[in-house]
Subunit: 299 residues, 2 copies
């Protein structure tokens, strides 16, 4: 279970002329290796997994392991259809992934039983450990504590990636404690929603599944290491210094478009790096992003 | 524009052992031909388009035209990525479709500009007329009147499929009138949400894009013809007689699972006809569906 602790960085999958920009992707992974992240999760929401073909996903999984220099790689396998999920499991296994990330992607609203059965099917078909990916903003599925508990009992479910939310420190600790009690300590708990990374770690989360940390690993590692060393105040301060970045996420509807704009601004990926129909930020919005990058000295 | 009027029936795409049940699908299309529907929309939400590969979608488009005996066929081309949408346009054209249905499917929340640009890209790349598919329950995108107006100005956008909602007859008429005013009479307006079909037609909608009518065309045609003949009360009465069916849709979270259960109960498709992870109704729920089918004499 220590596999799913610390900072797991979610790289973008940069697109160029509708194809994966493999050179840029390799560069993003090498950056994460240099920074010393604890693990890399390829093909998360930040990695645009839902927009790629099975073949593209297999290639990204292979490239990630190839460039990760031994750092554990987890691969997002979510898809609308169970049949596709299983194909992604096979390609992630073949690539040498050490873990899998599974979100209940939906078009038709899924029931709790649909989702449980999906996870049961996947866990019974692979030996790789699985992170339950709770991301209601994109999947439009709402997990309950009871479903967390049922999933944690499945052999192979080793971590839960919970959404971030604004809570006071005592409330956040109580929230994490409730999840831990419900899941009987059978899983690690990872926070997502980057603005809540420090608060989540300080509240007892074992991991930070960080979107922006896939592009800007160094400041996110500083927060993570402070929290891991018991320096909660220091972690909070470091996160507070990044408030202008978190504000961009709120203002521009989430982290993906902002993170892509940062990577484009820093020259890590080519312009228009998101898959259409997602146009990305407007020019005016990109200028605001560039200002924040300069002010905070992000690179 | 008369192409997009009257009853457009949305058949299921039945699944059997994870593959398309082609024999059952052909039977569903022949049923619609026999009933005399005005058009057939293949690969709508009811046709599980989002769950099928590009190749499967091409095959379904071809089969529909092949069995439609000259009845106009529209094909759903929506997909998460513009690249896939364009591939679906090409296969629908090759199949001989007379129209296209496009929903702004999302994983990352789409902006108004993302959606407008998607429709602009598609309309500029095909001569086939397009139905704008407004289905917030599955796409999680909310259209505004202003966006309707912008889309209606695109050459090739010929109809808008609006979601059903509970409104008084005068409010419903005013709602349709507002859309008509905003879109400058450049599109037909079609109601969806089957419980609201009669009310929508009575309120001035030109078309009924009906999910359950893809499986039970005869009662839905009776409602449509009554409304078209100006017999609003008769249309309302016929719809009211089906209230136990509409109640099942409310109770079992939408029309898809209920419609599939009806088709399975009537032997039109094999059991477990929906794509996993969608398990479909439970056995107890299926018994309730069978009771309603018997009570209402549906076949």
């Amino acid at each position: 279970m220590t596999l799913f602790t610390g900072l797991s960085a979610f790289p973008l999958t940069p697109i160029r002329d509708e194809e994966i920009d493999e050179a840029a992707y390799a560069g993003l992974i090498q950056r994460l290796v240099t920074a010393g992240v604890d693990s890399i999760t390829a093909l998360g929401s930040t990695g645009s997994y839902a927009y790629l073909t099975a073949e593209e996903r297999a290639r990204v999984a292979r490239m990630t392991v190839e460039h990760a220099a031994g750092i554990p790689v987890f691969v997002g396998i979510g898809a609308l259809r169970t049949r596709e999920v299983m194909a992604n499991v096979r390609s992630a296994e073949a690539a040498g992934a050490q873990g899998l990330l599974l979100a209940p992607v939906s078009y038709q609203q899924l029931s709790t039983d649909d989702v449980f059965e999906l996870f049961r099917t996947v866990t019974s078909a692979t030996d790789l450990p699985i992170v339950v990916y709770d991301n209601p903003g994109t999947t439009h599925f709402t997990f309950t504590l009871d479903l967390y508990a049922r999933l944690a009992e499945l052999e192979g479910v080793d971590s839960i990636k919970i959404p971030g939310q604004a809570m006071s420190p005592p409330d956040f600790s109580a929230h994490v404690e409730r999840i831990r009690a419900a899941t009987g300590n059978q899983v690690t708990i990872g926070i997502s929603g980057d603005a809540f990374g420090a608060a989540g770690l300080n509240a007892g989360c074992d991991a930070w599944y960080t979107a922006v940390g896939g592009t800007l690993p160094t400041p996110m590692l500083a927060i993570t290491r402070a929290a891991q060393n018991g320096e909660a105040d220091r972690a909070s301060e470091l996160s507070a210094e990044l408030q202008p970045l978190w504000d961009l996420f709120s203002e521009f509807s989430g982290s993906l478009r902002v993170t892509a704009a940062i990577a484009e601004h820093l020259g890590l990926v080519a312009p228009h790096s998101l898959p259409l129909p997602i146009l990305g930020l407007t020019d005016a919005q990109k200028r605001k992003v560039a200002e924040v990058v300069a002010t905070l000295n992000l690179d």
